[in-house]
Symmetry: C2
Subunit: 160 residues, 2 copies
């Protein structure tokens, strides 16, 4: 662990929430660099990122019919749904999610979130500050995922 | 690092939220060992604790008029209010909090949460898995805190 000078901490004492899942002074960011991976209508806000914390806490939100990238990586995610209803792909399974549900995404598990219910889907995601880069599925990976009919329906946006 | 409870050693794919800020299979725990420190009417639920995650995510909830311990420590907290309204002591300041507000608690900052609004106050707390033990205020520390009238009111439960 790095040596931290507590006087250098960037932790804000109080960051007020606004209506609509925005926070005072927290920039609404693109989910990822445009063109770097497939995704749709999703934004990112970083709520906690500080040298004194070994994890970051981010808030991601998809508009209705939006989705995150199908990806996997060595690092894990701890997710809590904060807004709306939708579905998540987790390995070979598709599960419905609602506010306050927890989604644990272990290492190397293909995952994708989709706002399948005609409303925004927003979630907190806790992740290690030090982590590897996500992998995208190769054609053979997608073919293996699609072998499960419910997963193929999910990937093609036919669940909702 | 603590020995990991085998029941928590694997990330659960989906942990469903129930009404009232409870989660499927997540035990409602005492906040701390009874008698170890001053606190009132507060519970703890561990939402994410896994060797693959460098932080834990816990949910603490106070009943109306409940409060956490006044304490400080080297490790930092990243807090998001999830339920209800109340107040937080942060160093020499008392601030009102509402749902989705973020509270960053830097190293060595005295802090306490209080359910001052006649309703439960619940919050998420992200914290490093490896961390030091909290310190309680000595009489001189309390006297220094009480030198600020708003803080003395807060500590004596006169804000609400």
């Amino acid at each position: 662990m790095d040596t931290i000078d507590p006087n250098l901490s960037q932790l804000q004492a109080l960051v007020r929430a606004f209506q609509g899942f925005r926070w005072e002074g927290v920039e609404l960011m693109p989910y990822k660099e445009e063109g770097s991976a497939p995704f749709k209508a999703i934004s990112r806000q970083t709520l906690f990122k500080d040298p004194a914390l070994a994890c970051e806490l981010r808030y991601f939100e998809m508009a209705a019919d939006g989705y995150s990238t199908v990806e996997r990586h060595e690092h894990a995610h701890g997710v809590m749904i904060l807004r709306g209803h939708g579905h998540v792909l987790l390995g070979g399974e598709v599960r419905a999610v609602k506010p306050n549900d927890l989604v644990g995404i272990p290492a190397w598990t293909w995952h994708q979130f989709r706002a399948t219910r005609g409303e925004p889907l927003g979630f907190l995601c806790m992740v290690n500050a030090q982590r590897d880069k996500p992998q995208l599925p190769a054609p053979a990976d997608l073919a293996a995922l699609r072998a499960t009919p419910a997963v193929a329906d999910f990937l093609d946006g036919r669940i909702g």
